[in-house]
Each structure stands twice: as structure tokens, then as C-alpha cells.
């Protein structure tokens, strides 16, 4: 096991813009770090740099106590699970799992024991003589996990391993991966674009955009205390409402709401207000001093126990996550209320969070 440290790591392809720029990130020993971000944000490149499959343009990468910038992949003692499984189609499950040990000249009995143990843990014991082509997607991904496990590496890398599986299997495999990490305690780096996977699996999450690190923290830290609109919008489903508002020094206004904020006079006139859909409640159930938000219903998405109501007033739009089922007709006017402490404010240009009074969950009333 080992920690991983990036110091000002940058990756360029040719003369183009940096795919990863000056990344500083420390992954502790035994940690499950999830790298999350949209396509092309550089997360897979970071993973491949750890694996040694991509060279590093500048900066230092160390695994354990060694600087590994120039160390070939085979010497890094790393196992990787790929999105398309990357199993050897002409070998049986047993041979697939034993391959890494065989090329490293492990004793035959030891190989047999390790493969059988891993197969037992992953429920593959009956499939050892099958070939990947005869297995389902979920089984193949478990074989890929087993192949990574048997070598007992110091770091596990996962490159969107669940993206090829259907929704049900994904939930199942998430728990398998989570359980394995608890059992083995190996440092793991997991790349995904799915924020649900990130929230449920990660001990910490690093959110990336355009090759830059937006924020690192535990899932709850990112959810409750986002540093910028990108993280605010990326974490949570449905994502946080980000509404442009006008600040006149006494109150924040947009077509949907008016929020008294007397002490923001030093700030710019154009701000972005962030409000999570689950923080909106029916006005009738809310304390009288909570600010109101009024708009016409544009769309209602019913999810059974709850529903997502899209409200609009002029160019401002919010989504509210409301309990129960009510018969709403698009075009009706709906009044909602929210706790003023649940509001986040962001600079409209830099998109950075404005922590005017230092409160963790919002700017306070």
C-alpha cells in the first residue's frame, strides 16, 4: 500500500493546450479517491499517468516514497480495471486471473491458491474454466476485478469500470467494489463521470474540469460546501439551481424571488444564487419569515415518492424536489419557500463561492 502525490503535474499532447494543468493532489494510503468530471476533463489522463501509460510533461508524481515519472508501468506495482474489461479473450477466467502472476514467475501452487481465493470472494469459482466471451458483462467485470486483486498491488486504478453495465448491475458492482476496498484497504483511484458513483464510493472526491482541479473533499464536504458553481452544479442530482440575481446592496432580486441581504453592498451587482432543489418547500408548510419564490410550473417529473417541479419566471428557472404527489398543471403558479441559510452565493464572473460571513452551509441570513 502507498500514498500517491502529484506535485504541479502537467500533461500536454503536442503543442495543444494542457490536458492536465499544474495538478497538486495527495491521495493518502488506503484512501478511495474518486476523480470525477465531464468528458475530456483530464481525469482518465491522470489515472493513466499514475499507471505509467501516459508520460508526464512536467511536475513530479510519486507513489509511496518513489518518484515514478520515468518508472515503467510494470515496476509500479499497480493494477488497473478498464471500462471495456480488457480481458484476454483467448484465455479462460483462470488463465486471465493467473496471467500477471505467471509473467512474474510466481510459484504454481501460490498462483492456484490466490486465484481460487479471489474467485471465491467474487463468486467466480464456478466460472474459472469459461472464456470471457461466454460470460455476461457483470461477470467479465468481476473477472477484471479478480485479475487486479490476485496480484495484491499497492494501488488499484479503476477507469470507469461500471460504464458498460446496466443500471441494476452497476448498483450491485458498486457494492462489490466498496466491500473489496473495505476488506483489502488498498489505495484506490477511481475515475467516473457519474456523480452518484462518486458520492457513494469515494472516501474523498476530486472534481475536475478542463484539466484543472476544481475542489477536493469528502462527498459531504463537496455537497454542502462547494467552492464554485462547477462543483455546486456537478454534485447532487438534480443539480443545484444556479440563478443569476441582481444585488442592489440591500437585497438580491430576480424574476423568481427577492431575498433581503443588507450587508452585501461591497459586492458586485451581478451574482449567482445557488439553491439545492431539495431545500425548496411548499410555502404553506414553511415558517413565515422564510423568503418566498414564485413562478409558473413548466414541467413536473413524477418519481413516485417525490417529484421534480420545474418553475420559471421570465428568464429565471429553478427545479424543486417536492414530496408526495400533487396534481399540478403546467402553467399554474406555485409559491415555494426556502431557508435563507441554505442559499449559496457565487461571483458571476469568476464563478467562485462568496463566503461573506464564513458560514459553512451558505452565507447566512
Amino acid at each position: 500500500m502507498a500514498n500517491i502525490e502529484f506535485r504541479k503535474v502537467t500533461k500536454h499532447y503536442g503543442d495543444g493546450p494542457a490536458t492536465v494543468s499544474a495538478l497538486d493532489l495527495k491521495i493518502s494510503d488506503g484512501e478511495f479517491m474518486v476523480l470525477v468530471g465531464p468528458s475530456g476533463c483530464g481525469k482518465s489522463t491522470i489515472l493513466r499517468m499514475i499507471a505509467g501509460l501516459e508520460s508526464i510533461s512536467s511536475g513530479d508524481l510519486s507513489i509511496g516514497r518513489h518518484r515514478v515519472n520515468d518508472m515503467p508501468p510494470k515496476d509500479r506495482d499497480i493494477a488497473m480495471v478498464f471500462q471495456n474489461y480488457a480481458l484476454y479473450p483467448h484465455m479462460t477466467v483462470f488463465e486471465n486471473m493467473a496471467f500477471g502472476l505467471r509473467v512474474r514467475n510466481f510459484p504454481k501452487l501460490g498462483i492456484e491458491r490466490r486465484v481460487r481465493e479471489a474467485a471465491e470472494t467474487l463468486g467466480l469459482a464456478d466460472l474459472l474454466q469459461r472464456k470471457p466471451g461466454q460470460l455476461s458483462g457483470g461477470q467479465n467485470q468481476r473477472v477484471a476485478l479478480g485479475r487486479a486483486m490476485v496480484r495484491d498491488p499497492q494501488v488499484f486504478l479503476f477507469d470507469e469500470p461500471l460504464s458498460n453495465l446496466d443500471a441494476e448491475l452497476r448498483v450491485q458492482m458498486r457494492s462489490v467494489i466498496s466491500r473489496l476496498h473495505r476488506q483489502l484497504g488498498t489505495t484506490s483511484v477511481y475515475v467516473t463521470h457519474d456523480q452518484v458513483e462518486a458520492m457513494t464510493l469515494g472516501s474523498r472526491i476530486a472534481v475536475l474540469n478542463d484539466g484543472a482541479l476544481m475542489q477536493v473533499g469528502t462527498p459531504l464536504e463537496l455537497y454542502n460546501d462547494p467552492d464554485n458553481t462547477f462543483v455546486a452544479g456537478f454534485m447532487g442530482a438534480p443539480s443545484m439551481n444556479l440563478v443569476p440575481v441582481h444585488n442592489d446592496g440591500r437585497q438580491l432580486t430576480c424574476e423568481l424571488l427577492t431575498l433581503p441581504r443588507p450587508h452585501l453592498s461591497a459586492l458586485k451587482s451581478a451574482l449567482v444564487l445557488g439553491l439545492r432543489p431539495e431545500k425548496l418547500v411548499y410555502a404553506a408548510n414553511a415558517p413565515a419569515n422564510w423568503p418566498r419564490l414564485t413562478g409558473s410550473i413548466e414541467l413536473v417529473e413524477s418519481l413516485g415518492a417525490e417529484m421534480l417541479v420545474h418553475l420559471r419566471a421570465g428568464s429565471s428557472q429553478v427545479v424543486a424536489r417536492l414530496p408526495g404527489l400533487r396534481a399540478f398543471t403546467p402553467g399554474d403558479t406555485l409559491e415555494l419557500a426556502f431557508d435563507p441559510a441554505a442559499v449559496y452565493l457565487f461571483d458571476s464572473e469568476s464563478r467562485q463561492r462568496i463566503r461573506s460571513d464564513g458560514a459553512r452551509a451558505g452565507v447566512g441570513a
Partner: protein, 306 residues
């Protein structure tokens, strides 16, 4: 249960009727006609080979032949079936030796051609190096020129400079190298379809490039290797012009060159020629049969990402 029986009873006459209607359909007639068109010339060769005679005419028609006799003459069947031609070919003529020469040259061409093209194609497919694009383009350009055009330069290089005329090695060298461009392109196309992650995964597991090539890539590329190998074998096996010019010594002839001497200005032994050509076709046919399960997937290699 009744339903099942009822269905079965109904399906018997309908299936029979379907077969009958198939047989009497225009499609069937067309297929029979096409098959006859292909088989008829071959039948001449087979008949000649098994007739025991050397003349090209199987049936001597009298001057006042009846229409029935004319019709009979159209159907190439020997008057008596015998293996005499084959027996004489293998015992009295140096045919066995030529067959041996051809086999050695074709097998060695396949082995040399495949080992060179597999490693070259892997490099072209996986590595980025200076001259890669140009190299591939040059391979393609070399295919534009017919073999006859290269005959004189090849003769000068192989026979006059290297002194490899009249030897197996000379022909093996020339055949392997002329087959190389096609083989490299064919194999490269297939290697391109193999997911790169498989190799990256093996790299991380500690395998060397050589281990990956021999234990993962080559086994996975078996269909393409089978097709390419077959191509290399047939190139060497069927080639006539180069072999006839490079080989002066009769004992070093390959089969196509040897066969040519049965029907020349001085001889017209069509029986031997026919028997020889049947024997020559056998190895290729056997190879096709042995490799047929690879052929379909190999020929469509690269068509879709599998």
C-alpha cells in the same frame, strides 16, 4: 398436446411440398446451370487425368457420327478409368521431386513471410515512429507494379549479384519479400482492431512487449494469420515466371515449371499435365479446408470493430 400433434401433422406435407417447389424453382435451375458451367471444364481435366492417355481428345468421332455420338463426345468421360497417368507421373517422371521443391519453397515462404510481416505489421499498428506513414504508403505503391516489371532487376540482384539462382533460397527470398506488402497491410488492419487496453492491461501486469506479442496478440490474430499465411503459400505455390527464369536445373523445378514441360514444342503429354494439375491443387484445397473456420472472420477483418 393435441395442438402440437396437429402442427406436426400439418408441417410434414408442407415441408415436402416446399422442397419440391424449391427443386422446380428457377433459382434452383439457375444454380444447377451455374454449377455445371464451373464443373464442366474441371471434368475435362479429371477425365484426362484418369483416362491413361496423353491426347487432348477423349472421344474419336467417326466421319459419319450420329447426333447421339456427337452428344456423347460432349460429355468428357474416358473410355476406361485408370491411374496410369498418376503412376507414371510419380514414378517415371521427376514430378515427386518438383512437388518436394514446391512444398519446401512454399512452406519456407509462408514461414519467412509470416514472421516478417507479423512483426512489421505489429510495429506499424502499435508504435509511432519516423517514416511510419511513408513506409506504409511505399508498401502500397510497390503493389502497383506487376511482377513482370520487377523480373529483370530481381534477376540481376538475386542471380547475378547474390548468386542465388538455381537454389531454393533465392526463390524463398523473392517470394517472401514480394508477398510482404500485402501481408503487412492485411495483418496491420487486423491488429488495429484489437483493443489497445488489452495490451495496456498486460503491460501493467508485468508482461514485456515480446510476451504481449507472442502470448496475447498472435493468438488473438489467428484468423488474420491464417488468411495471410494462405496467401503467402499460394503466392509461392502457383508462381511460374520467376521460378522458370531462376531455375535452370530440371531437378530444382517447382511444380508449375515442371508441368509446363509436359506440353511444349517437343511434347504434348496432356494426361500427365492433367494428373499433375490435380495433385498440385490438393495441398491448397487441404489448406483451405483446414483453415476454413478462420477464413470468414479473417477476410472480413477490420470490417467492424469486434
Amino acid at each position: 398436446m393435441n395442438v402440437v400433434l396437429g402442427r406436426a401433422r400439418r408441417s410434414v406435407p408442407s415441408r415436402f411440398a416446399r422442397i419440391l417447389s424449391d427443386i422446380f424453382s428457377w433459382r434452383f435451375a439457375l444454380l444447377v446451370f451455374a454449377s455445371l458451367l464451373v464443373a464442366y471444364p474441371l471434368l475435362w481435366v479429371v477425365s484426362l487425368a484418369f483416362s491413361g492417355q496423353q491426347a487432348l481428345t477423349l472421344v474419336q468421332l467417326p466421319a459419319d457420327a450420329s447426333p447421339a455420338q456427337h452428344l456423347h463426345a460432349l460429355i468428357p468421360l474416358p473410355e476406361r478409368w485408370t491411374l496410369d497417368n498418376f503412376r507414371a507421373l510419380l514414378s517415371e517422371q521427376p514430378f515427386l521431386r518438383w512437388l518436394g521443391n514446391s512444398l519446401v519453397i512454399a512452406l519456407a515462404t509462408t514461414a519467412v513471410g509470416l514472421s516478417l510481416s507479423c512483426s512489421a505489421a505489429y510495429a506499424f499498428s502499435r508504435f509511432r515512429f519516423a517514416g511510419r506513414e511513408r513506409g506504409l504508403m511505399l508498401f502500397l505503391i510497390s503493389q502497383m507494379f506487376p511482377a513482370v516489371l520487377m523480373l529483370i532487376p530481381l534477376y540481376v540482384i538475386v542471380v547475378q549479384w547474390l548468386g542465388l539462382g538455381n537454389s531454393w533460397l533465392g526463390l524463398i527470398l523473392v517470394y517472401s519479400i514480394t508477398a510482404l506488402p500485402f501481408c503487412v497491410w492485411m495483418l496491420k488492419g487486423y491488429f488495429d482492431t484489437l483493443p489497445y487496453e488489452i495490451e495496456e492491461s498486460a503491460l501493467l501486469e508485468g508482461a514485456s512487449r515480446w510476451t504481449i506479442f507472442t502470448r496475447i496478440i498472435l493468438p488473438l490474430a489467428r484468423p488474420a494469420i491464417a488468411v495471410t499465411g494462405l496467401f503467402a503459400f499460394m503466392t509461392a505455390w502457383n508462381e511460374f515466371i520467376l521460378a522458370s527464369i531462376f531455375m535452370d536445373d530440371e531437378s530444382l523445378y517447382t511444380v508449375p515449371v515442371g508441368l509446363r514441360f509436359f506440353v511444349s514444342d517437343y511434347a504434348s503429354e496432356w494426361g500427365y499435365f492433367a494428373a499433375g494439375s490435380i495433385i498440385v491443387s490438393l495441398p491448397v484445397m487441404l489448406l483451405f479446408l483446414a483453415l476454413q473456420r478462420f477464413l470468414v472472420s479473417g477476410l472480413s477483418a477490420g470490417a467492424v470493430k469486434g
